[in-house]
Amino acid sequence: MAKGRSEVTEAILAVRAETAAERGPKQTRTVAARLGLRQRFTELWRSRELFVFLVRKEIKVKYKNSVLGFLWSMLNPALTLAVFWVLFTIFLPNHLPDFVVYMFGATLIWNFFQNAVLGGTGSIVGNGGIVKKVAFPREILPLASVGSAFMFMLFQSIVLVLFMAIVWHRPDWSQMYILVPALAAIVVFAAALSVFLSAVNVYLRDTQHLVEVVLLAWFWAVPGIYAFSGNVHDKFARHHLLWLYFLNPITPIAMTFQRILFNSMHPRYTNEPHALIPNGVLATYPTHWYVYSDLAVLGISAVLLLGAIALFGRLEGNFAEEL
């Protein structure tokens, strides 16, 4: 008995020594009113596993105890698609061929953005229990909301792929790579907004409701249910306000997705800026227009994210008492 015990103890001690060795030299952590951005990022990087756990948790908790589980995350967009298809092909025909694919290209992006920002805004207040009791880089919470929204987007894209297979709608394989900067841009943009809004929401609880309303309106500024070409383009162009339309960073990203996924409806390219294909659906911008727009959004979003994290750091000091 005594021997068995000492063996266990030794095993434990061995594990501890190993851990100590793996951890290497002790690092010094500073708690102060202001921390440099570099230190913030170091701590964020150290908590990357926590990020994974939080994302996993959000997905697990969302559909725990529901019979269909995460199937809901696919059923939901599938049913929405069905409703819109019935509405816009049968009752209010908008004459967009394979409209569901067109719409889904944009709503996939939009749903991600909406889930990320809404979830992120409430993340600090919603996790008040941990924020008040445990020390960890709190930016992780809004970032995890973005992460889980991203995972849900991946689930939803399965529906899109299935649907495209059913109607045999071929995407533009050769230009697929443009999706990478587009995805990066939307993720960074959503992260910047989430981090910023989550901190503001601690001090001003209206933020949550305000965001809901703003998102509702914002959705219609993205060419998802309607075609950009035709009426929308013409009216903006007539008043020289196209730039206003493109001020919405979601627009070029959603258009990129449509350009790639809905591609087959795009009969030719032109290099003429803002030209439209007669009777077409998509704008005729050349490929590099999409790449540059997405990169521009990515660049601006990255700056915004830095700013958001810096601001978050300023506001973070009083989280525990405000909650």
Binding site: I12, V15, R16, E18, T19, A20, R23, K26, Q27, T28, R29, T30, V31, A32, A33, R46, S47, E49, L50, F53, L54, K57, K60, V61, K64, N65, G129, I130, V131, K132, K133, V134, A135, F136, Y203, L204, R205, D206, L210, E316, G317, N318, A320, E321, E322
Partner: protein, 413 residues
């Protein structure tokens, strides 16, 4: 040793106390510039270092700022000014099981909570059995945490936290939870931490715990550090400060304390009695400079009485109780075989304790006068006075027993 594990560098923390909290936009606009607030300094220029391997106590009453300080050290709150530097990994046991997700199973929560505290998945895997074992959860580990009893919840929380293997462990008053068996286990684990040379920061308002496990302690009061030193010293400061603030109002009226015995006037009984107690005086070597005695110091209790007629064969009695009402000592002049007749007028009866062999605590005195023969009680005063004993040493318990140790190894035995 030698290395500093935690450096608290002139930390201050200001809280804004608002008359009313306006946290909606409308309220903010309506009350723009109107929301009055008072600044409240929960911590005021607190500075100390904790050496590696040291067990450090923070003593203070409720509201003295000790929890705020702990939160600043563990990084939950940021100080308004000043800095805290922590070398190595820190785990804070502020609330056990904080961050548990009720919908997830115990197993998932272990991973989640450990990573919240800074332990990697790989490390958790190695310790998983140990954690489950320590928490005494057995097969419940795969149940959702929301079905756990509060005891299981707390045990799991503690098991995860101590297995984070922090270099610095911060313990708030969490040991007050769980059953006795588990508490002992927690204390054992803390002692094990000590022997492994880890740094422990311990916050409490229970001086006995500080005496039992700390190497050094600071005393906080109203956010200010009022002292720092070895446990005995710190506890003395803490007690003294407590008494001072409690007695401050009383003494302010009484004027400056003279180096005279503490005198407590007692209201005379309303019905006519032949002899009654008018006051008692308590005197000890530190009278006038401190409010307590140290173990082994003498104490004199003087009972002042007044007789209206000759009363034959009176017996003066004295009782000492501790704060829990347990009788520590009782005696009277009859037991001491002293015959006494009280003559009309005022007189005194002195009780002289040659040395009080008590350790920490506040003790109350009951005094009385009765007849030697019958059951006539002339006067009896419950809690007529009290005295305080403070132990500067490390021993704990109730009685200061004289003790010597004689250690022999096998060759000399």
């Amino acid at each position: 040793m030698g290395n500093v594990a935690v450096e608290v560098d002139h930390v201050s923390k200001r809280f804004r106390v608002f008359d009313e909290r306006y946290s909606s936009l409308k309220e903010r606009i309506v009350h723009f510039q109107k929301s009055r607030h008072e600044d409240f300094w929960a911590l005021d220029d607190v500075a100390f270092d904790i050496a590696e391997g040291e067990t450090f106590g923070i003593l203070g009453r409720n509201g003295s700022g000790k929890s705020t300080l702990l939160k600043c050290i563990s990084g939950i709150l940021q100080p308004t000014t000043g800095e805290v530097r922590v070398r190595g990994q820190l785990a804070a046991l502020l609330e056990l099981g904080a961050g548990f997700q009720p919908e997830l199973s115990g197993r998932e929560n272990i991973y989640m909570n450990a990573s919240l505290l800074g332990l990697s998945t790989k490390d958790v895997e190695k310790r998983f059995d140990e954690i489950v074992d320590f928490a005494e959860l057995g097969e419940h580990i795969d149940k959702q945490v929301k079905f756990y009893s509060s005891g299981m919840y707390v045990r799991l929380g503690f098991a995860v936290a101590v297995n984070v293997e922090p270099d610095v462990l911060v313990v708030d008053e969490v040991l007050a939870v769980g059953d006795e068996n588990f508490q002992r286990k927690c204390l054992d684990r803390i002692k094990e931490f000590q022997s492994e040379g880890r740094t422990i920061l311990f916050v409490t308002h229970a001086p006995d715990l500080v005496r039992a496990i700390c190497d050094r302690a600071v005393v906080l009061s109203d956010g200010k550090m009022i002292g720092e030193g070895p446990p005995g010293e710190a506890i003395r400061l803490f007690r003294e400060h407590l008494l001072e603030s409690a007695a401050a109002t009383n003494r302010a009226a009484a004027g400056p304390a003279a180096a005279k015995a503490e005198r407590i006037e007692l209201a005379p009984p309303t019905d006519g009695r032949p002899v009654h107690i008018t006051a008692i005086e308590i005197d000890h070597p530190g009278t006038g400079t401190r409010h307590y005695i140290e173990p082994g110091e003498p104490l004199r209790v003087r009972v002042l009485y007044k007789a209206t007629a000759l009363v034959e064969d009176v017996v003066f009695a004295i009782e000492v109780h501790n704060v829990n009402g347990i009788l520590i000592f009782a005696s009277d002049t009859q037991i001491m075989a002293q015959h006494f007749d009280a003559l009309p007028g005022e007189g005194v009866a002195d009780f002289l304790f040659e040395g009080i062999p008590l350790l920490d605590g506040t003790f109350t005195l009951n005094v009385g006068i009765r007849s030697a023969r019958g059951g006539t009680v002339y006067d009896w005063r419950e809690q007529a006075g009290q005295f305080e004993v403070m132990n500067p040493g490390q021993t704990t318990g109730v009685v200061a027993l004289a003790l010597h140790a004689d250690l022999k190894d096998p060759s000399t035995a």
